[in-house]
Amino acid sequence: MTTISAVSRQLASRHHVADLQRRFPLLQIAALAVLYLVGAATVPGWTTRSTLSSMLVMAAFLGLAGAGQTIVVLGGGIDFSVGAFISAGGVFITELTSVDNWPAWAALLLCLAVAVAGGSLNGLISYRFRIESLVVTLAVGALVTGVLTGWTSGAVSGTPPTWTDSAVSVINDTFGLPVPPIVVIWAVLAVVAGVVLARTRAGRSLYLNGTNPVAAKRALVRTGWTWTAGFVASAVLATFAGILLAGEGGGNLDAGDPYLFQALTAVIVGGTMFGGRGDYWRTVLGALILTVVSYLLEAHNYSTGVQEMVYGLLIMIVVAVYGRERKIRDRV
C-alpha cells in the first residue's frame, strides 16, 4: 500500500511540475540563472557593465529577430523569410540614406512598405492556395534577396546612418538609463507584445487559430486575416531588426542569414511550440539563454562549431522536457 501511494504521489508531483513548467518557464529561468552564475564564477570581467551591455545588445538582436517568428509559430505557421527581411532592412536603410540621400523618415517608410508587402505575400499566398508556409516563405525570401541583389548590383555601398550606430553602441545611455537604446526598444517591444498577445482580441484570435484553425473559424475568428497579420508582423519586425543591425555591421546582403535559424532556436528554447503554446516573454528568455551560452563558450575558447552543437543540444533538452507530441495511440 505504502509503495503504491508513494508512487502515485511521486507521479502526481511530477505531473504538477510539468504542468507548472507549461504555464511558466521555470526551467528556462533556472537555466539562465545557473549559466549566468557559472559565467560570473569562471570568466573574469563577466559582471562588468561593458560585458553585460554587449550581452544585452546581442540578446536584443536575437529577441527582435525572433519576435515575428514567435507570432507566426503561435499562429501555427513558420517563417523562413526572416533572414531575407533582416538583410532587406539593413540594405535599404544604408543605400537609401547614404547613396540616394533620402531623409531617414522616407527610408523608414519604404522599409515598412516593403515589409508589409512581403509579409502579406507570405500570408495571402499560403492561406489562399493552402501551401505550407515554410515553402511560400522560402520562395518569398528568395525573391526579396534577389531584388536586393539586383537593386544593389550585388554589393552594398555607403554607410548606415549614424543613428543606427548610436542605437546599438554598447557604451551609449538611453535618457540616463545605463543601457544602449536597442535594449530599451526591446524591453518596450516585449511589454507591448506580451499585452497584445495575452489581452487583446487579435492575440486571442492568434492563439485560437494556432491551436485549431477549424474551431477558430467556427468561433468566428477571421482566420485569413489573423494568419496574414501574423506574417506581416513578422516581416515588419524582422526588417526593423535589420535596420538596427546595420548599425552594428553595416548593411549587408547576407547579414540576416545566420538569424533565420538562431531566432527560431530562441523561440523554441524559450518554450514556444507550434500551434498556440507559448508567448513572447519565453522568446526573450530564449534569446538571453542563447546569448549567455555563446558568451560563456567564447570566453572558454570554444569554436563557433562547438557553439552551434551546443545550440542543437539545448533545443533537444528543452523540447524533450515538455515540448513533445502526443503518442499516436492516444490520437486514434
Binding site: 522560402l138 541583389t149 486514434v332
Partner: protein
C-alpha cells in the same frame, strides 16, 4: 479543353513540374545551343547531381506525414563531404571500398537518429531536424578549421565527369532511384503513403507507424550520404558555409515537384523533375542576356510562381478543411 488540362494537372501532382521541365529544356537549348551537345552532359549532370540528390533525400521524410520534414539534409551532405576531404583522403583512406560504405552508413545513421527523435521521443520533425542541423553544421565547422580542406582521388574525379561512356552524375541519380524502386517492390511504400495520409488510421489498420517513419528518415539519410559523395566529387573541397543553402533549395524542389508537405501525396520522380526545373531555371538565366545581378530576383519570382502552380494546383483537389 482547359478543364481537361486543369484536371490532368490536378490529378497528377508531378505533371506541372514535368511540363515545366520540358519547356525549360527547350529554352535552355535555344539560349545555349551547346547545352544539347552530349560532350557537355557529364559536367552538367555532375553539377546537377548533388542538388537533385539533396531534393530526393528530403522527400521520404516529407511523405511520412505528421509535419515530417528533414532540414538537416544539407548539413549532413556537407559533413560527409568534409569527412572525406579532411579526414579520409589525407590519411590514405581514399579507396572506394572504404569511402562509399562509410558515407552510406554515416548518412543512414544520422537519418535513423532523426527518425528516432521524431517517433520515439515524439519531437516535432522540424524541431528535431533543426537540432540535427545545428549539430551537423557545428561538426562541419569544427572539421573545416581555419583553412578550407581540399582533395580528390581518381574515382571521385570520374564521378565528377564520367566512368567510360556513362556520366558519373547520372550514376549517382540512378542509384538513388534504384534504391527507391527496390523499396517500392515491398509493402514499405504503400505503408509510407498510408502513414503520410493519416497516421492514426494507418496505426489502427496495423501499420507500424514508428518503424515506417524511422525508415523514411533513414532512407533520406542514406540518400544524403550518396549526395555527400556527389558533392565532394564536384567541389573537391569542404565548405561548411553552404550547408543551409542546399537544404532550402532542396525543399523548394520538393514543393515544385508536387509533393505535399502535409504528406498526402508525393513521388521521387516529381522531386527529380522539380530539382531539374530549379537547375534549368538558373542555367537559362545565366545563359540569357539578363544582367547577372538580376538573375536572383527572377529566380525568386519564378520559384514563387512555380510553387503556387505546383503545390497550389495539387492542393486544390483536397477537401477544404478550414
Amino acid at each position: 479543353m482547359t478543364r481537361a488540362v486543369t484536371r490532368f494537372l490536378r490529378t497528377r501532382p508531378y505533371a506541372f513540374a514535368l511540363v515545366l521541365l520540358a519547356a525549360l529544356l527547350i529554352a535552355n537549348i535555344i539560349a545555349q545551343p551547346s547545352f544539347a551537345n552530349p560532350s557537355n552532359w557529364p559536367e552538367t549532370l555532375a553539377i546537377f547531381a548533388p542538388f537533385a540528390v539533396a531534393a530526393l533525400a528530403s522527400t521520404p521524410a516529407i511523405m511520412s506525414g505528421g509535419g515530417g520534414i528533414d532540414i538537416s539534409i544539407g548539413p549532413l551532405m556537407t559533413v560527409i563531404d568534409m569527412v572525406i576531404v579532411a579526414d579520409l583522403l589525407p590519411h590514405g583512406l581514399g579507396s572506394p571500398w572504404i569511402v562509399v560504405p562509410l558515407c552510406l552508413v554515416m548518412g543512414a545513421a544520422v537519418g535513423a537518429l532523426n527518425g528516432a527523435l521524431v517517433t520515439v521521443l515524439r519531437f516535432q520533425p522540424v524541431v528535431a531536424t533543426l537540432c540535427m542541423n545545428f549539430i551537423l553544421t557545428g561538426l562541419a565547422t569544427q572539421i573545416e578549421g581555419s583553412t578550407t580542406p581540399q582533395g580528390a582521388t581518381w574515382w571521385t574525379d570520374d564521378l565528377a565527369s564520367s566512368f567510360g561512356p556513362i556520366p558519373g552524375g547520372l550514376i549517382v541519380i540512378v542509384v538513388v532511384l534504384a534504391i527507391w524502386l527496390a523499396l517500392s517492390r515491398t509493402a514499405y511504400l504503400r505503408n509510407l503513403y498510408a502513414t503520410g495520409g493519416d497516421d492514426a488510421t494507418a496505426f489502427s489498420a496495423g501499420v507500424d507507424v514508428t518503424r515506417v517513419r524511422i525508415l523514411a528518415y533513414t532512407t533520406g539519410g542514406l540518400f544524403a550520404g550518396i549526395g555527400g559523395l556527389a558533392l565532394m566529387a564536384v567541389l573537391r573541397e569542404g565548405e561548411a558555409g553552404d550547408a543551409t543553402m542546399y537544404t532550402l533549395v532542396a525543399l523548394a524542389a520538393v514543393a515544385l515537384g508536387g509533393t505535399a508537405f502535409s504528406g498526402k501525396r508525393g513521388s521521387l520522380l516529381g522531386t527529380l523533375c522539380g530539382a531539374g526545373c530549379m537547375y534549368l531555371i538558373t542555367n537559362v538565366l545565366s545563359a540569357s542576356r539578363v544582367p547577372d545581378t538580376w538573375t536572383d530576383a527572377i529566380y525568386g519570382a519564378l520559384l514563387l510562381i512555380a510553387v503556387i502552380f505546383g503545390a497550389g494546383l495539387a492542393n486544390a483537389t483536397q477537401a477544404r478543411t478550414t
